[in-house]
Symmetry: C2
Subunit: 313 residues, 2 copies
């Protein structure tokens, strides 16, 4: 196939929120699909998705979306996967690829796997990209550019089919990594799930204080707190499902976090300036590595617009 | 005084890192000073500050900076304040204002207060603004625009002098709030100090894992972790001094955080989806308030440049 030929005649998106709609935008940008059909069950959201125009057709039924599709992408909160997999099973085209975009992989293999018919290739996936926003208006074609997409193929996945899905993600702008599902869940627990949990937690703690008012917390949030509110604004259903489905790895990583925090708390209590200084110096180096790896901007404050000045900086 | 007349004939900056140099830039932008002198003890840093040109003169000695100054600003890490206050005491002009920019106020009152000569007005202050960067090159005139500056005047501070310093900060772009030092320290513990502590902590935890490599943590950091690395890249000396000087309030707020985290951990362990969903919905509302208050951008991902696209979004 040449770089400009579509990879799939028809793509079916089961769900068209931030990730589903971004896949549609990215697929259009790179001419990856003959046509794109999207399943959006709620009439009000469906109307908004239709208006956005990133899919050729938007449906309230699964059958017209899935039938004839060469690639079917589960892009709802993962708690809905098992039931959706059961419902779409009768409509698959033989030889179709089924993938997903969920932030947990071991339970997805377990929940979805049994519903996948013979002759359909199930390759779980996770594009490691996003914003705190959700809904069909939140997507954009550049979301995956320079980000990593992790695929966790099953032992029976054939290499030609896997290569086709890898090529799809590369032309969406991603780099592709192959991983074991359990290892994926451990990596994401520390890079994503525990960071979200503690961001949600501190925003909740701050909101509940009596000695400090909520209006004070908000007024002085530019001193650090505001960064956490962004992550803590992520979609509640999606994140509830992630924690319900990656319990073991999250608890393991949270245990490490708590151990280290107890030591840090002790350093604060006993005034151990050297321990504090050493940690703060070590973490600074990690920031540099993240920037060097192209995973964040080097601009101060994430390049937030400077208020009053109307320019990045 | 008119809006365009300088407020002070001479401003002395003791330290010219991110905050000190930003004060110089903001004071020049609004014509707030006849001249600006800066004290930068390290020859290498002094050469860089001189090259930046934000001060009319940069010195390695305190006397030429402080003498004749109408406003003297302590802008070093707070651990150096007491010794500096002792050293500058002989050089103050009668009627001068001494202020600072430290993120802790009660210990500053206690450490600096005793060194302030009769006839000098000491008004502790804290511009609640910053970036993760440091040094004389990190400053910019817009840093304080739309941010809050908290002043914690002493009981004996006269209102005309206080008004003069408030006017200075307003013309630097800030809004000004008056607060009790102890309350300031409690507010900042939750909005700034504990958020920094847990960001430093999780970046340290992630760096130390054996099951997940550091290169994996960095590659997949766009899933949440990278946000924490920004804060954890803040100046180690400055932050060591903050924790050493705001111990009580930090430990109090950290206690609250830990209690709430234990409850959340339990919700994850027992699969209490409703508790998770309720917290995640509540925290989303706080994000909206931060944006409505003008303390953060509404753009997804803080408006980070979209990779490949070269534009904000």
């Amino acid at each position: 196939m040449t770089d400009s030929a579509p990879i799939f005649e028809k793509i079916a998106l089961i769900g068209a929120g931030l990730i589903g709609s971004s896949i549609a935008h990215a697929a259009r940008r790179a001419n990856l699909a003959g046509r794109i059909a999207a399943y959006v069950p709620r009439p009000e959201t469906r109307a908004r998705a239709e208006k956005m125009g990133f899919a050729d057709s938007v449906h309230g039924e699964l059958q017209p979306v899935v039938e004839d599709a060469d690639l079917v992408v589960l892009a709802t909160p993962i708690g809905a996967y098992a039931e959706l997999a059961r419902l779409v099973a009768p409509y698959f085209k033989q030889g179709a690829i089924l993938t997903d975009v969920g932030s947990v992989k071991a339970t997805v293999v377990k929940d979805v796997g049994p519903h996948v018919p013979q002759g359909v290739h199930f390759i779980p996936g996770h594009p490691v990209a996003g914003t705190e926003q959700s809904g069909p208006e939140a997507g954009f074609a550049e979301l995956f550019d320079g980000r990593w997409c992790i695929l966790t193929p099953l032992p029976e996945t054939d290499s030609a089919t896997l290569e086709r899905l890898k090529e799809f993600w590369r032309r969406c702008g991603s780099e592709v990594e192959i991983m074991d599902p359990k290892h994926h869940d451990l990596v994401l627990a520390i890079t994503s799930h525990v960071p979200h949990l503690i961001a949600y937690n501190i925003v909740g703690t701050a909101a509940d204080l009596e000695a400090v008012t909520q209006s004070e917390v908000i007024k002085y949030s530019a001193s650090g707190f505001r960064d956490f509110t962004r992550i803590a604004a992520s979609d509640p259903t999606m994140w509830r499902d992630i924690f319900l489905n990656n319990r073991e790895a999250v608890l393991e990583m949270l245990g490490r976090f708590n151990e280290d925090l107890a030591a840090l708390q002790r350093a604060v209590r006993w005034g151990d300036g050297e321990a504090l200084f050493n940690l703060f110096t070590r973490t600074r180096a990690i920031r540099r590595s993240v920037i060097e790896a192209g995973q964040d901007t080097a601009a101060p404050n994430f390049g937030r617009l400077r208020s009053g000045a109307g320019r990045g900086g």
